[in-house]
């Protein structure tokens, strides 16, 4: 996938309905259920049916950058929006983009995407949830380890209309680390290629935590010069 180089401002691109987005060549990403065997809870493993996990099968992803910030536009079908937690059994919709935090130089340095990374191979996820005002910057080193940082440079805007979610993430290409010894964010640069993955949580299907639809493999993303 290519993140096109553009001159639009952040305000323009953050609008999920911004007409420029359709001009970019996106990529339809296939999503699959997260494997039950990898769920970090015996309870979840024992009580869920993998066939019913990962309701969203496909997401259209487009990317762009303006030299300072990078933008992702995601679009997927969802007949039932779940915005607020109005009842105990209501779960919000959600989406995230995943990146290895450390540069990937080969198979050994590639964090396992289906295990949310592992020790010394951390992953960074930009997360959006329909019930929360702000996006979150999270990082993990394996199943069940996801943490989030207090500070977050990610912005997200979303819209649900006629059965379609549209979501835009924006972030500066580089961000300051809270803890330089233990980086929590991916650092991007123009012309560079990084690995990326996508997750979608369909709230009406009871999806939360590791119960989600995800791109089973890393995709390359190049920030066009």
């Amino acid at each position: 996938m290519i993140a096109e180089k553009v001159n639009y401002s952040k305000d323009v691109l953050l609008d999920p309905n911004c007409p420029h987005w359709v001009k970019f060549k996106g990529e339809k990403m296939k999503l699959s259920a997260t494997p039950l065997a990898n769920q970090p809870s015996e309870y979840i493993k024992a009580t869920r049916d993998e066939k019913k996990v990962g309701k969203v099968k496909e997401v259209m992803v487009r990317a762009a950058h303006n030299g300072k910030e990078v933008f992702f536009h995601m679009e997927w079908l969802d007949a039932e929006k779940n915005l607020e937690i109005t009842a105990n059994d209501v779960f919000p919709d959600g989406a995230s983009i995943l990146f290895p935090i450390k540069p990937v130089t080969g198979k050994e340095t590639e964090p396992p995407i289906d295990e949310m990374g592992k020790k010394d191979l951390p992953v960074n996820a930009w997360q959006w949830r329909s019930d929360l005002k702000e996006a979150q910057n999270t990082w993990a080193e394996g199943l069940g380890t996801t943490s989030w940082s207090e500070k977050c440079s990610i912005t997200a805007r979303s819209q649900w209309k006629d059965g379609v979610w549209k979501l835009v993430f924006a972030r500066p290409l580089t961000v300051k680390e809270n803890n330089p010894k233990k980086p929590e964010s991916v650092q991007l640069a123009v012309g560079k290629t990084v690995k990326t993955g996508i997750s979608i949580w369909e709230g009406s299907n009871g999806e939360r935590a590791g119960l989600k639809a995800f791109s089973k493999e890393w995709k390359d993303l190049t920030l066009a010069k």
Partner: protein, 380 residues
């Protein structure tokens, strides 16, 4: 079933999954581990259903928005539907197999807010500025259909052989907490020093698997802060040697608190030595650390209205349903010791249950909070 030949990839994957399972097991075992276990005994023969425990807990911990509907401590009339409504039919917990060695999680239901009952707000203003013609005091919004103590004093049986008793419940701080097991974020752990089960409110993301998994339905969902919250066994008090509010504030003196392994302590004696204190629904497989002295009741009346002293009013099978197969034995022990006392003989068991020295019910957590110089900013 015949096996197909596996590809190398499949074999690797299977191997990795086994590794992950083992890792998970080790993680959970670590979170579940505690050096000592704090425990509580509740005497249902002394409980009068006054809910002072519920209020004591409420004003201390759950009086704010988001928590306002929660009752970490509940008291319900048994038999009854309880809190949340029909919680005993909601599943969760473990199927225990292979001589108690294997605990297999059972799917549980996520109770609804209506099943718990809302924190009703009332139309005071409307009443104060209205008249008998226009209004009366009632909850604002939807007419409630259930609450924490909705079926109070209703019970079971047929007049004159009705029966009921009160059952206070808090989180059982189980030895095998299904909630801990269920949490995909490893946000639930037993405190190593006392075995109190807590939800780390910084890690919790409000996914609610724990609420599903807990067979006692003692975890509440905080909609405002998107958190699972529950009884913390008043750990800030425990740390200072002060018994939990529900126990220390119980005017009927029904609750003992102490180390389960303290052989001199009343908790150990009631649970392990005299075996009159039993876990609630032991078949749920979580090994609760709150134990109950099952209730006695006046005998039944026969068809002429005569007292039939041989017929117990509460069917034993009901008590066995609640407290397991040991219920009958516990009652026999209790009755025998009470009979001894009636005949003027001493009994260690009744002496413990009388609890002449109230503070002794909580040893070593018998400190008076007034003795702490703990005002804000000055921790002592």
């Amino acid at each position: 079933m015949a096996e197909k030949a596996k590809t190398a990839e499949e074999i690797a994957k299977e191997k990795r999954q086994k590794e992950l399972a083992k890792e998970l097991q080790a993680t959970k075992e670590r979170l579940r581990y505690s050096k000592r276990q704090i425990a509580s005994v509740v005497d249902l023969n002394k409980c009068i259903g006054c809910q002072t425990c519920s209020i004591a807990c409420k004003t201390l911990w759950t009086d704010d928005e988001g928590r306002d509907y929660m009752w970490w401590n509940t008291v319900n009339t048994q038999p009854g539907s309880g809190t949340p409504k029909d919680w005993e039919k909601m599943g969760g917990g473990y199927k225990v197999r292979f001589e108690g060695k294997v605990r297999e999680p059972i799917k549980g239901k996520l109770p609804t807010r209506d099943e718990f009952g809302e924190a009703w707000k009332f139309n005071y203003e409307e009443v104060h500025k209205g008249s008998s013609q226009t209004t009366y005091l009632k909850p604002i919004g939807k007419e409630p259909e259930w609450g924490m103590n909705w079926d109070e004093d209703q019970g079971g049986g047929v007049f004159p052989n009705a029966f009921y008793f009160y059952l206070p419940r808090i989180c059982n701080h189980c030895t095998y907490p299904t909630c801990l097991d269920a949490c995909p974020r490893n946000a639930i752990y037993k405190r190593q020093e006392d075995g109190i089960v807590v939800v780390d409110e910084k890690r919790c993301k409000g996914y609610r698997f724990c609420i599903e998994a807990c067979p006692y339905k003692k975890i509440y969902f905080n909609r405002k802060d998107v958190l699972g919250q529950k009884c913390i066994f008043c750990y800030p008090r425990i740390e200072k040697g002060v018994a939990p509010a529900c126990a220390r504030q119980c005017p009927a003196r029904v609750r003992w608190v102490g180390w389960l392994d303290d052989v001199q302590g009343p908790v150990h004696k009631l649970v392990k030595k005299w075996k009159v204190a039993l876990p609630l629904h032991p078949e749920y497989g979580t090994e609760p650390n709150v134990f109950y002295v099952p209730p006695l009741a006046p005998p039944r009346l026969d068809t002429t209205g005569k007292i039939d002293i041989l017929k117990p009013r509460i069917p034993l099978r009901y008590l066995e349903y609640l407290f397991g197969p040991e219920a009958g034995k516990a009652l026999t022990t209790l009755k025998a010791e009470m009979a001894k006392r009636r005949n003027g003989q001493p009994s260690e068991l009744t002496e413990i249950l009388i609890a002449k020295d109230w503070k002794g019910m909580f040893k070593p957590f018998d400190k008076d909070p007034l003795s702490l110089t703990w005002t804000r900013g000055k921790k002592g």
